[in-house]
Each structure stands twice: as structure tokens, then as C-alpha cells.
């Protein structure tokens, strides 16, 4: 885990130094100063840009750990403060989208898997194929138009208040739930052809008992790690969704930052997202180990 984080930080640092010359020039332009070679040199010294790379890296690392990226080029406010203020909104959006995605893929995938070749199966396949190809930002805009402009149910401008999260979260969730509903279908189809389901049927159990007690865990266990990876997609997708729905999260802020060449914000965003993503993957791994009896026994055996 630790070497991974070090590697992550090196990459982030590398990104931030892809165009050092531009950074210096931009700073000078921001400060409104006339660019003479001496003042350029002085600014570079002040920023520590003239020191050797490894030193710069360590310097950067110490600050990055505390999410200390200085002041935003555009707003002048502390990057750290602004990002942390906006983070909860993004997390709220992503978490809601994640839940909707799981719910949708189960709702669509399970009935399709239980009755393959049936009407629901065909309809769900149509839904999946369409939803995968649909650009989520296009869908977002169409929904925004329908609910925001035409029917005026949804307020276009934004705060991160409760109900308002539903429409953006749904838009974010649809693409992935289309993919996962197919996977869920495959898994349930496979599980229901297994002998232990027949044993359960021979016991005379009703469908809900068979489904939830016997089938669920076995069908969904392999998908848990995939669901974890989908969080990455959601964090990325929030760049588009937050922009469309004027959602006050870190992603919309980051997009503006890139357009404005606001490097500190961009760097902070990249580092922050890597942290969030790594943490969530770790959580998913832990959850999977707890839930899967085989993994749990392996862990217990290792402890002995």
C-alpha cells in the first residue's frame, strides 16, 4: 500500500512539473510584473523552482500530505480550504449515484437472470445496450432540460441540498448500471443452475428465501470488486455531471481550474481524488474479505 502511495505521489508531482516554464511565466503575469530575466530568476528562486528535482519533490510531498497547495491562481483563496469545502458535495453525489447504480442493476438484472429469454430479459437487454451507448452528459442535459426548464421541477442553479442530488446521481448511475445489470443477470443465471439451489428447492423453500438466503451472496460476491472499480468511473464522471447540473463539488471546480490554467487547484484535485479512490478500494477489499467465508478462513489461517 505504502509503495503505491509513494508512486502515486511521484506521478502527481511529475504532472505538476510537466511545464515548469509556463508556471513561472504565469506567476509573473499574475503578479502583473514586467518580465525581466532577473525578476524571473528571483521568482523562480522564491518558488524553489531552481532547486534540484528530488528536493523539489520532497518539498512538494510535505505540503501535499497536508493538502497544502497554496493559493488558487484565479480566486486567490486557499486551495485547501476551497477543495475541502466542496468535497462533501462530490462525495454525496458519488455515494448516491453508487447506491442508485447497485439498486438499478439488481432490479434489472435479477429478474432477467431468473427468466432468461423472457420478455423482461429482452427489454432489459435493450435498455442496457442503449444506456451504455448514451453519453451521460447528453442524457444529463436532456434531463436537465425536461425537469429544469420544461417542467421546472428541478432547480437549475445550485446548492448541494438533499433532493437535488437525485437527478445528477441518476444520470451518473445509468451508464454503469446498464453494464452491471448484464453482469448481475449472468451471475444469477449461473447461480440458479447450481446444485445447491436445487437442494434449496427440494427443501420446499419459497423463492424469496432461496433468492436472499442462498443465491444472493454467491451471485454477487465476484461483482464486489468490480463495483469498487466503478467508483473510479463515478469520480471521473462527476467532472461532467457536476458541470452540467451546476453541482458545487470539487470536480466542477477542477474543470474551471484547468480552463483557467489554475495549476495548484488541478494538482490538489488529482491528489485528492487519488486518495479518495485508494481509500474506497481499500474499503471494498476489506468488505470483501469480511463477507467471503473462504477469504476469511484464509486470513484466519495466516494469523495462526
Amino acid at each position: 500500500m505504502v509503495p503505491l502511495l509513494i508512486g502515486v505521489s511521484i506521478i502527481s508531482f511529475g504532472l505538476s512539473h510537466l511545464s515548469p516554464g509556463k508556471v513561472g511565466d504565469l506567476l509573473l503575469r499574475q503578479s502583473g510584473g514586467v518580465t525581466s530575466s532577473e525578476s524571473a530568476q528571483r521568482f523562480k528562486q522564491e518558488l524553489g523552482l531552481d532547486k534540484p528535482l528530488p528536493v523539489q519533490y520532497l518539498h512538494w510531498l510535505c505540503k501535499a500530505i497536508r493538502l497544502e497547495f497554496g493559493a488558487s491562481f484565479s480566486t486567490g483563496a486557499s486551495v485547501r480550504q476551497e477543495m475541502l469545502k466542496r468535497l462533501p458535495a462530490t462525495l454525496k453525489l458519488t455515494a448516491t449515484a453508487f447506491l442508485i447504480m447497485i439498486g438499478l442493476s439488481l432490479l434489472v438484472g435479477i429478474p432477467a437472470g431468473l427468466r432468461p429469454g423472457g420478455l423482461f430479459d429482452h427489454i432489459s437487454r435493450l435498455f442496457s445496450t442503449t444506456a451504455i451507448a448514451l453519453p451521460n452528459y447528453w442524457l444529463g442535459m436532456l434531463l436537465l432540460y425536461l425537469f429544469g426548464v420544461h417542467w421546472k421541477i428541478f432547480s437549475i442553479t445550485g446548492d448541494a441540498s438533499g433532493g437535488r442530488v437525485l437527478l445528477p446521481a441518476l444520470t451518473l448511475a445509468i451508464g454503469m448500471s446498464a453494464v452491471y445489470s448484464r453482469l448481475v443477470r449472468e451471475r444469477f443465471l449461473e447461480v440458479f443452475s447450481q446444485d445447491y439451489i436445487r437442494t434449496a428447492q427440494a427443501k420446499g423453500l419459497a423463492l424469496p428465501a432461496i433468492l436472499f438466503r442462498h443465491a444472493f451472496k454467491n451471485a454477487l460476491m465476484p461483482l464486489v470488486s468490480l463495483w469498487g472499480m466503478s467508483l473510479g468511473y463515478m469520480l471521473g464522471g462527476s467532472l461532467l455531471i457536476e458541470t452540467i447540473f451546476s453541482w458545487p463539488g470539487v470536480a466542477s471546480f477542477a474543470v474551471q481550474a484547468v480552463l483557467n490554467r489554475d495549476f495548484p487547484v488541478t494538482q490538489c484535485y488529482v491528489v485528492l481524488m487519488a486518495l479518495v479512490f485508494s481509500l474506497s478500494n481499500l474499503t471494498v477489499d476489506v468488505l470483501q474479505t469480511i463477507a467471503d467465508p473462504k477469504l476469511r478462513r484464509n486470513m484466519q489461517a495466516k494469523k495462526v
Partner: protein
């Protein structure tokens, strides 16, 4: 894989038809367009579809259809190119990792893991942030964000291909590394990779035009489908119909590649390959 079977496969036919149509627009688009996509005519803003302007005009009086056709070359062309680059990178590095010795494999996989700690689009954003928004930085960004997944997949396929009996037999008869790779490993790995490539081109179109939508890729006044959607966004109150054409174009293109990929998968009887 039977060539005759292709004609019975609805997916391939439909997907192929869509893509064929789009490729024609991509290649011949500029020639086919009725008007100059860059020509601004402020006296004819927001025109509804008519004879001169079959799809109407946008907020600057430019012909929507022409922009769509020109944008086809940019959006489709770039996406296909990026997809090809990612596949080559992923294939090459994956094979190197899978066929190489322990140390090479370890080193490459650590690199891949590090890159995969970032959500792909976030990495892309970081690169575009450093290089400044442009078509080039978007292309580089997307490549860097997406090749690791494929490298890892290919490596997995290579490793399981190596386990197969006929490969062991080849090794025992002293087949050298390169010959082994091309003669024995590659034919096993290539079909799923091709299926993936087709499916992924669809994703690339979405990502590339998504970046254009955010203003982070192709810069105006270049007609790119995502960028056109972005421009339409400002006028969502007055001219919401401007949203339809570029979005439908993107949707059709992605659908075409998805169907083609699905059809290829059925035809080549590849087990469901999932990049996630």
C-alpha cells in the same frame, strides 16, 4: 469462426452498418457538407431546418449539418486513433509483462498499479491541466488514463495462454521467445483484444467528446460533437433542439461500435471480456 456466419449475426450487421455509414461521413464529410462549417452568419441564427440548412443553424448562424459532418472526422477519427494507440500500448506492454521474467513483470505491474490508483478521467484531467487544453493534450491524457487497464488484461491473458499445453509443448521443443509469442501466444490473445478494441472505441468516443464538452479537448471554432453540445448548452432555454443533433451523432457512433464489438464477441466465441 465462420465468415458466412457473420451475415446471420444481427449485431455485427447493424453495428457494421452504423459504423460504415459514420466512417463515410468521417472520410467524405467535408466534401459532402452543404455549407462551410466555419462560416458565421449572424443574420441567420437559430434557423429551423430548411433547404439551405438541412439541420438548421446554431447560435452563430453556422450550418449544423456541415459542422456535424466535419466534426465526424475529428470526433471519430481521433477516437479511433486513440483507441488504436491504447490497444497497441496495452498489447505491447501486457505481452512484455506476461512473457518477460519475474522482475520485468513485477516492475511493469507496479507501474500499472500506480497509474490505476487514479480514476482514469482524473489522470486525463491532470495531464490536460499540465499541458493546457488542446486536441493533443486530450489524446495524450486519454491514452495515459486508459492503457493500464488493457495492459493488465492482456498480461492476464498471456499468462493463462502460457499455461496451455501446446505452449508448454512448444517450449519443450525449444521455440524461442519471439517465435513463441507470435506463433502461439498472439493468436490466443488477439481475438479478445479485438473485441475489446471495438467496444473500447465506443468508450473513447464518449470520453473524447466528453472532454470536448467540457472545453478541455478540441478548442473552438473546430467543430467537434462534444464541443457542439457545450455550445448548445448555453442556449438551452431558447433553442433546446440544438442539443439533439450532436448528441444523437455521438450516441449512434458509440452504439455502432458496441454492437460491432458484441457481434464480434459472439462470432469469435470469446467469453465475456470485461475491462472492469
Amino acid at each position: 469462426m465462420s465468415w458466412a456466419g457473420i451475415f446471420h449475426n444481427t449485431s455485427i450487421l447493424l453495428g457494421g452498418a452504423l459504423i460504415g455509414f459514420l466512417l463515410i461521413t468521417a472520410v467524405a464529410g467535408p466534401g459532402l457538407s452543404p455549407n462551410d462549417p466555419f462560416q458565421i452568419d449572424l443574420t441567420h441564427r437559430f434557423e429551423p431546418p430548411c433547404q439551405t440548412y438541412p439541420f438548421g443553424t446554431d447560435h452563430l448562424g453556422r450550418c449544423v449539418l456541415s459542422r456535424l459532418l466535419w466534426g465526424s472526422s475529428i470526433s471519430l477519427g481521433s477516437s479511433v486513433g486513440i483507441s488504436a494507440a491504447i490497444m497497441c500500448l496495452g498489447l505491447g506492454i501486457g505481452i512484455m509483462s506476461g512473457m518477460g521474467n519475474q522482475r520485468v513483470d513485477f516492475f511493469i505491474m507496479r507501474m500499472v498499479d500506480m497509474l490505476l490508483s487514479f480514476p482514469s478521467l482524473v489522470l486525463t484531467l491532470g495531464i490536460i491541466g499540465a499541458l493546457g487544453p488542446s486536441l493533443f493534450s486530450a489524446a495524450v491524457g486519454i491514452c495515459m488514463g486508459w492503457w493500464p487497464v488493457y495492459a493488465r488484461l492482456v498480461r492476464g491473458m498471456v499468462l493463462s495462454a502460457r499455461e496451455k499445453e501446446f505452449v508448454t509443448a512448444a517450449r519443450l521443443t525449444g521455440t524461442s521467445g519471439i517465435r513463441m509469442t507470435t506463433r502461439h501466444i498472439l493468436p490466443q490473445v488477439l481475438p479478445p483484444v479485438l473485441v475489446l478494441a471495438s467496444l473500447e472505441t465506443g468508450t473513447m468516443i464518449l470520453v473524447f467528446s466528453g472532454l470536448g464538452f467540457l472545453g478541455l479537448g478540441v478548442q473552438p471554432p473546430q467543430p467537434e460533437w462534444g464541443a457542439m453540445l457545450n455550445e448548445a448548452r448555453t442556449y438551452i432555454f431558447t433553442a433546446p433542439y440544438l442539443l439533439i443533433a450532436p448528441g444523437a451523432a455521438i450516441f449512434t457512433a458509440v452504439l455502432g461500435f458496441s454492437l460491432l464489438g458484441e457481434g464480434l464477441r459472439q462470432a469469435m466465441q470469446v467469453r465475456a471480456v470485461n475491462p472492469w
